[in-house]
């Protein structure tokens, strides 16, 4: 899987846990909590969805690594390879 694949999967799951956000409105450096208003339950649902879809189990201490689309793309590519 390429890093672009990880990015699109991350975006897909992000708009699934936050159906009121449009994928097109999400900037690569938007912070998912500070800018996109996800709460801690949404973040956990996102982490759960990524675990189910990719088999990548993100521990709590790594949550900051997926706080923006750019960071998540890099982190998931690293963990997935």
């Amino acid at each position: 899987m390429t890093s672009t694949d990880y990015k699109s999967i991350f975006l897909e799951e992000l708009v699934r846990v936050a159906p009121d956000i449009e994928a097109a409105d999400i900037g690569d450096d938007d912070h998912i909590q500070d800018d996109l208003d996800l709460d801690s339950m949404d973040v956990l649902n996102l982490v759960t969805a990524l675990h189910e879809r990719l088999g990548i189990d993100i521990p709590e201490r790594d949550y900051p690594e997926i706080s923006t689309v750019n960071r998540a793309e890099a982190y998931l590519s690293r963990r997935g390879s």
Partner: protein, 402 residues
């Protein structure tokens, strides 16, 4: 036998729009089954039936705005004849439903009888007393403007009073531009909060609590769990509030105008969920008293997911017995909230902050959370609320006993 009517999903709801039937004639229904979806100011709500039987007829069309109390369907118990249940000809809000199956907005109270009482006016509109024509000034004004004869209308307000909405319904094609869902949500919040501040004599008691033991407990527990089984601090708060509410019946229930305070048998904590773009809902986690911490967390995940998707149930919107409102894991340090009527208490939780704290005579950094309980002085006093907070603090500091 019974007529399933448009339920009241909150004290300020006058009408709802039926948007989907999930049953058809011939279907068997059981207590608690979701049978229809109604669109309200607070979004789409799934409506449950509270009796066993067979749906024999759907009376209401989809897509129409229907006053609370309007017959929607007929449900017959086994072995019953259809003729017994048919409501009088020309079903409409003027005919009080004989035996509403939809639970009115009442808590689970100590007397089981209460649960099946028909809704109070305006939920069950009454016939107007002859001679006495009652209409609100706004309704009269609009009626004059639209050329509607007020005397020809049947009111759906208390005692049959004619409301603005009745005039609007009587003048099809004249309806004003419909407000957006966000504006509708804002109106619903405005009505509930204005009512709370107008009728509930609030008082507030606060305490700052060391949450480091709870945070380290969760870190330890979550380290070994896959994401699907992890627990959030918010679940610990709801569990602690539930444990404290079990011990403080005076904080858990509804204040009803005609009966005063009615304590609830079960604890159904309302969980305030902020919606992006503004607005919030506080659906109840039903029967949380019997739940473990894990079940509390699973129930909250489900509530948040359904709140975002707009699929909450009628019981969840009306049967909360106490509300928990949290600012989340980052943000401001304290919140003094407004009670959600007809409840009598709200627990406001600030975000955890790192502060110098005295533990066993030493000053050390600790994460602390300020809990502020808003309580109804018609029902409780300072000492009772202080006791509730002590029980909450004890539950937070002994998370392993959850």
């Amino acid at each position: 036998m019974g007529v399933f009517v448009m339920p009241s999903l909150g004290a300020d709801m006058e009408a709802g729009k039926l948007v989907e039937w999930l049953v058809k004639p011939g279907d068997t229904v059981h207590r608690g089954d979701v049978v229809a979806v109604v669109e309200t100011q607070k979004g789409a709500i799934e409506i449950e039936v509270f009796e066993e039987g067979t749906v024999t007829e759907l009376l209401a069309e989809l897509g129409r705005e229907l006053p609370v109390g309007t017959p929607l369907a007929i449900v017959l118990a086994d072995g019953e004849a259809a003729s017994e249940a048919r409501p009088a000809a020309a079903p409409g809000p003027a005919h009080a439903a004989p035996e509403p199956l939809t639970k009115p907005e009442l808590p689970q109270v100590r007397e089981p009888r209460q649960a099946i009482e028909p809704p109070k006016a305006p939920a069950a509109p009454m016939r107007r007393a002859p001679g006495a024509l009652r209409a609100s000034p706004a309704a009269r004004q609009l009626a004059e403007k639209l050329g509607v004869d007020v005397a020809s209308l049947t009111g759906s307000g208390p005692g049959g009073a004619i409301l603005l909405a009745d005039v609007e319904h009587a003048a099809p094609g004249q309806s004003e531009a419909k407000a957006s869902p966000m504006e509708e949500m804002r109106k619903a919040i405005a009505a509930a909060m204005t009512r709370a501040k107008r009728t509930i004599p609030h008082f507030y008691i606060s305490e700052t609590i060391d949450v480091d033991p709870a945070i380290s407990f969760l870190e330890k527990v979550n380290a070994d769990r896959p994401p699907a089984e992890r627990i959030l601090l918010g679940a610990l708060f709801v569990r602690a509030a539930t444990r404290a509410a079990i011990k403080s019946p005076v904080m858990n229930g509804h204040y009803l105008d005609e009966r005063g305070f009615v304590p609830s048998e079960g604890v159904n904590p309302g969980v305030a969920i902020a919606l992006r773009g503004g607005g919030l809902v506080a659906p109840a986690l039903m029967n949380a008293g019997a739940m473990t911490l894990e079940e509390t967390m699973a129930g909250m995940r489900d509530l948040v997911a359904r709140a975002r998707a707009g699929r909450l149930r009628a019981s969840e919107m009306t049967q909360g017995t106490i509300t928990v409102s949290s600012l989340g894991e980052s943000g401001a340090e304290a919140m003094t909230g407004v009670i959600f009527p007809p409840q009598v208490a709200l627990i406001g939780l600030g975000a955890p902050h790192l502060r110098p704290w005295v533990v066993a005579g030493e000053i050390i950094p600790r994460h602390v959370v300020t809990v502020t309980v808003s309580a109804d002085h018609r029902v409780s006093d300072g000492r009772q609320v202080a006791r509730f907070i002590a029980a909450f603090e004890n539950a937070i500091q002994t998370p392993e006993e959850q």
